[in-house]
Amino acid sequence: MMSFDKKETSALTFLVLLGLLAPTLFPSYRIQFSELWLFMVYASTWNIQGGKMGYNTFGNIMFFGLGMYICASTQIAYSFPLAEWTEAGGVKTFVHTVEQYFIGLPLGLVLAAIIPTIVAAFLGYFILGLRGHYFAICTLGIGIASGELATSMTIWGGGQGMTVPIWPKVDGQDVEFLGGSVNFFYTLSFILFLCTYFFLRWLFSTRFGLILTAIRDNEDKAEAMGVPTMRYKVSGWMVSAFFMGIAGAIFGNINGYIEPTEVAFAGATVGIYMVLMAILGGKGTLWGPILGAFIFQLFKEFFWTYFLGWQRVALGLLIVLIVVFFPEGIMGWLRREKPEWFGEIVDKKARLAQVTIKTND
């Protein structure tokens, strides 16, 4: 059922080699590479709604932020009272033992996956009945509202935010487990990307994936043909929430500090980037968001490093270029130029063939 063609195999091989070698080849860019793998997860899961299903969401950032807060709170609360931790604001020092850290973290990751998924299920039933712009505006509101809500949560440090437990030490030395903090979260990010990729690859090959496309093309028709579209839409959002929750949990640990509107529920940055990456690469395709994330991260790091101060201008320019030259993204453009790469048979004869129905057979 799952056949890899040559192009896909080489692209995947490249990414896997990059993933394995990057920490050794570019040790000072490990955080940027971790971010790259996470970017691919953001864009690929946004693509389930925005690309496959035709529901432009700005609300997926909520699952990201939620996962981040839930994971960090669990990591802390497993060993210390959460309220004391956030109140202390760095004055009082809490130190996790190795055991506390490595039990709290997996627990946090699991909860950061499960709770956003449940939230997506409930919320989805209420708002996935909205269509088009109404859905987009509603999710935009939800993204902003969740940031504001987090600001008022004193247990999470309110607007000041909270710190995430630091990598445990033994005798003043960082624990060497999987190469220490940076390598460890790099590895988690990379594994998360691979899991997301293989899961979505399978998902898009099933009836589920095709129904999502059918919903995008004509939801009324799908309903009229007996498809309970709501069930598919909600399940799709749950998948996004699951992976976004874990991504948030990992990013919180990489960042070391969580703040409601700039880090966790960062609708104005990460929330927009994920859309941009998916559109740049080509929404609705499996590889588009991955390609988009790759280009975007290169672009972002280049401008943020060498032209600091101009990065917003450059970002604006990138948006204009995408809209003017690649409205369907790079994959969409390729699909138009080289349809045979995508297994689409472009038969001139078939296109021109006259439709006839013989009445005597």
């Binding site: 099933t206 589920f208 009229a224 439709v355 129905i357």
Partner: protein, 246 residues
């Protein structure tokens, strides 16, 4: 003959517009029934009321004895009552074959939602596409088809779903006149071979008179007349409605 569909004094108002007023009609299993009437007489609204697109204000609709007016669109479709649209609705970005394959009826429960599309569906999809004359177009994107071809594709998709009753909203509108005889022939075969009851909105009088065994005529949201094609053809009220005397 048993009744497959019973519409009992259905009312549907849109604000002050009385789109359907006190409509009652019965359709017998295995028959071909036509629905005619001037533009804006409420035919499509009646179709929408039956398949659950919007709630009705009053009345009752029974399909094989089961009440439809409280059910959702996809539940009604799953019961075997399908409709096609006046403005074609197809999945434009997918190939015709894909359009066909996902039209197959599947119980969309959790264990079946994530199935692969079975290979065996290819044959069935190809056969049905050949039946409506679209075999050569099967690998094209559905959005590339002309309006008339999309109408045929919609019909094929409906057949793929194996309904008990099919409601067609103007199946020949926008179709090349040379194809219309072919379509009439196919609709009769569908009815005869697959035992699918047909309920057809049609403006083309030649088509509806050749196709239907029984015809209902609507005007101004009300049921004006019913009868055999000959009775309808000679009914003064029907002629007046079409010429605007009503």
């Amino acid at each position: 003959m048993t009744k497959i569909l019973e519409v009992k004094s259905v009312f549907k108002y849109f604000g002050g517009v009385k789109a359907n007023e006190d409509i009652s009609l019965n359709i017998e299993q295995g028959s071909i029934v036509g629905l005619i009437g001037p533009n804006g007489s409420g035919k499509t609204t009646l179709f929408n009321s039956i398949v659950g697109t919007h709630p009705i204000d009053k009345g009752s609709i029974l399909f094989e004895g089961q009440e439809l007016s409280t059910k959702l669109v996809h539940e009604i479709a799953k019961m075997g009552l399908l409709r096609t649209f006046q403005q074609t609705k197809i999945y434009g970005q997918m190939s015709c074959m894909m359009n066909m394959k996902i039209s197959k009826k599947v119980e969309d429960n959790f264990s079946r939602m994530f199935d692969q599309i079975p290979k065996e569906l290819d044959d069935q999809a190809e056969q049905i596409l050949a039946f409506v004359g679209l075999y050569e177009k099967r690998n094209l994107r559905a959005g590339e088809l002309s309006f008339g071809q999309q109408k045929l594709l919609e019909l094929a998709m409906a057949l793929m779903n194996e309904p008990k009753m099919l409601m067609l909203d103007e199946p020949t509108a926008g179709i090349n006149p040379t194809l219309i005889n072919g379509i009439i022939d196919r609709l009769i075969k569908i009815n005869d071979k697959y035992k699918i009851t047909l309920f057809v909105i049609e403006h083309n009088m030649r088509v509806v008179m050749n196709l239907a065994q029984r015809i209902f005529c609507m005007a101004h949201g009300r049921l004006l007349a019913e009868g055999s094609p000959n009775e309808i053809k000679n009914d003064k009220r029907v002629i007046d409605a079409y010429l605007g005397a009503h």
